[in-house]
């Protein structure tokens, strides 16, 4: 990425960064003005409607990875790579029925940690917290780091400044406005991202006909069109299961399930998944056109911005800068809010201060958000490199949690031994495969082992869980 020349003047980039930063902070302050309790702050009063619900599901899942890594996947793994990336939408689509079930079973729930604690007991809860905090913090740090690197690559803004500004802005409006601010800004950010991607897609098509793109790929990059491209077809289900594990376990999604109005969650996640599905395909298509457009690609992860800048010139450079900024903000704010809620609810309230008042909990959540921001900033500042590989490392951890969650929500005979063993054995075998074979089988192996163990334990279980235990009130 360092080999790529900036495509946008730094002065223009600073103006855009300043304008959008002020907008998000002002909106965060406005939407957060009525928050008085932890429930208001963490779950937006459990009153989010369908439009906001749909856009926040889509926007949160559109990370900088979607806009930058989807083109890279397409350039590396071709048509299958593009589709493999798009399978991450199945996470949202399948979470739709689960979210309705979660809302029914846990009308007073706050976090995914609550589910593990009440459903499987403290040992499973502790393992879950360990896994999810590793995953969430890695995702948060990698997003903030990507923010600094991308803003620097696109505009020449120094890495430390770009990373600090984007992180500070997200911390300020999330602290002030809580989940309401996150969901509100997500709405605007998702509209900007979707409009941007659509415009760019049509602009590329108007520059080069699809027949020429196909002819160029067939002659110069034939494997990208191959139905039997081994690395690409291997990536399909590994990526799909990684996406399922990410969505099924993480509090980013559970907090939304709790925050949506009665009857909204299922529809919102299903629509969010449908809205998200074409985004990586459109972004990936841009990369496949790079050869026909004769765009030189010195680094795979910059293919999207380079093609857009080539097709749309200065306007394209501004568009991609805004799209990247919105993608980063819509994910960083969600992670800050969801992780701070998890720490506040699962560690502060459940372990340290069971008698804390709602107002006190809201204050703690705000300080935890600030602490997470400072922690992330301190890790990111030295620019130790990309953490994308570490995020792949989390694949076995999230894959191993799929079956304990799914069976725990639907089967009374799913039990703690199954959940604990499934998570530990799945993660262990998955990590061993990660090092012995490669990242592209790690999540798959973890999910497979976890599945066998969880199903076996459920099959021979004599216990039957009482669903009423999940209806714990604060």
């Amino acid at each position: 990425m360092s080999d790529v020349e900036a495509i946008l003047p730094a002065q223009t980039a600073w103006l855009l960064l300043g304008a959008f930063s002020l907008l998000w902070i002002a909106l965060g302050a406005y939407w957060g003005r009525r928050n008085t309790s932890f429930e208001d702050h963490a779950l937006a009063g459990r009153n989010i409607g369908l439009a906001l619900g749909t856009t926040t599901a889509a926007a949160t899942w559109i990370t900088s990875n979607t806009t930058m890594l989807a083109p890279q996947f397409a350039l590396q793994l071709g048509i299958w790579g593009m589709l493999a990336y798009a399978t991450a939408s199945f996470g949202l689509l399948l979470f739709a029925p689960m979210a309705g079930r979660i809302r029914t079973l846990m009308p007073h729930g706050y976090t995914s940690g609550d589910f593990f604690r009440l459903r499987y007991g403290r040992l499973a809860w502790a393992i879950f917290l360990l896994f999810t905090l590793f995953y969430s913090l890695t995702w948060l740090v990698s997003m903030a780091m990507a923010g600094g690197i991308l803003l620097n690559a696109l505009s020449g803004i120094p890495y430390a400044w770009g990373m600090s500004v984007i992180l500070a802005v997200c911390v300020i409006y999330t602290m002030r406005g809580g989940l309401a601010a996150v969901i509100g800004t997500d709405f605007i950010q998702s509209l900007i991202i979707i409009a941007g991607i659509v415009v760019v897609g049509f602009a590329v098509l108007s520059h080069v006909p699809i027949e020429r793109i196909h002819a160029n790929l067939a002659s110069e990059r034939p494997a990208l069109l191959s139905v039997l491209f081994p690395a690409a077809i291997m990536a399909i289900f590994n990526n799909l299961l990684f996406g399922l594990g990410e969505v099924f376990h993480n509090n980013v999604w559970w907090s939304r399930a709790f925050a949506f109005r009665e009857g909204v969650a299922g529809k919102a996640f299903a629509l969010g998944g449908l809205v998200w599905f074409p985004i990586p395909i459109a972004a990936g298509f841009i990369a496949l056109a790079s050869g026909a457009l004769n765009v030189a690609v010195p680094a795979a992860d910059m293919v999207g911005p380079l093609v857009i800048a080539d097709v749309l010139g200065q306007t394209g450079a501004i568009a991609i800068f805004i799209i990247v900024f919105c993608s980063l903000a819509s994910s960083i704010d969600s992670l800050l809010a969801a992780t701070s809620d998890l720490v506040t609810e699962d560690i502060y309230r459940r372990i340290l201060r069971p008698g804390a008042t709602p107002r006190n909990l809201k204050k703690v959540a705000q300080y935890v958000t600030l602490g997470l921001g400072v922690f992330t900033w301190a890790i990111c500042l030295p620019r130790i490199g990309t953490l994308a590989t570490v995020l792949f490392f989390a694949g076995p951890l999230v894959g191993a949690m799929i079956w304990p969650i799914v069976t725990g929500l639907y089967w009374r005979r799913a039990n703690a031994a199954g959940a604990v063993g499934g998570m530990l054995l799945g993660a262990g075998v998955g990590l061993a495969c990660y090092f012995a074979i490669g990242w592209y089988v790690a999540t798959l192996a973890a999910t497979a082992v976890s599945m066998v163990w969880v199903l076996a334990c459920a099959r021979f279980s004599k216990s039957r869980f009482d669903w009423a235990k999940l209806k714990e009130t604060a």
């Binding site: 291997m234 799909l240 399922l244 030189a296």
Partner: protein
Amino acid sequence: MLLLAAFGAPLHAAAPRFVQPGAITSDTGYAMIGWSADAPVTLTMLRNDDPATARTLYSGSNSASFVSGLEDGRYTLFLRDKAGLRSAPLELTVIHQPLAHALLLVAMGALIFLAIVATILRGPRDE
């Protein structure tokens, strides 16, 4: 000599060279090719030493190029700058992973995925 210096041309321009220490292999059909050069270069690639397959991948001042979508084969890459100085060749061997291995993983992934979908869509079993 002064004239050359005034136009910024290096006095003793070195031939461009690849940064990769030796031959590279890929089981995915893609690779990042990096080089160092004092002047703009042209990157050319040919397959299985057949001159008829030679094609220009890049011309300009960048110092890297990403190639992808390559089928199984032995590829040879060269750099040439405007003064005609040529790099030592870089060999890239592409051997894709075994298809049977890939299809086995696909089948396994599909089975697990379908089991998850069935569990969710079937809903509560023993309430």
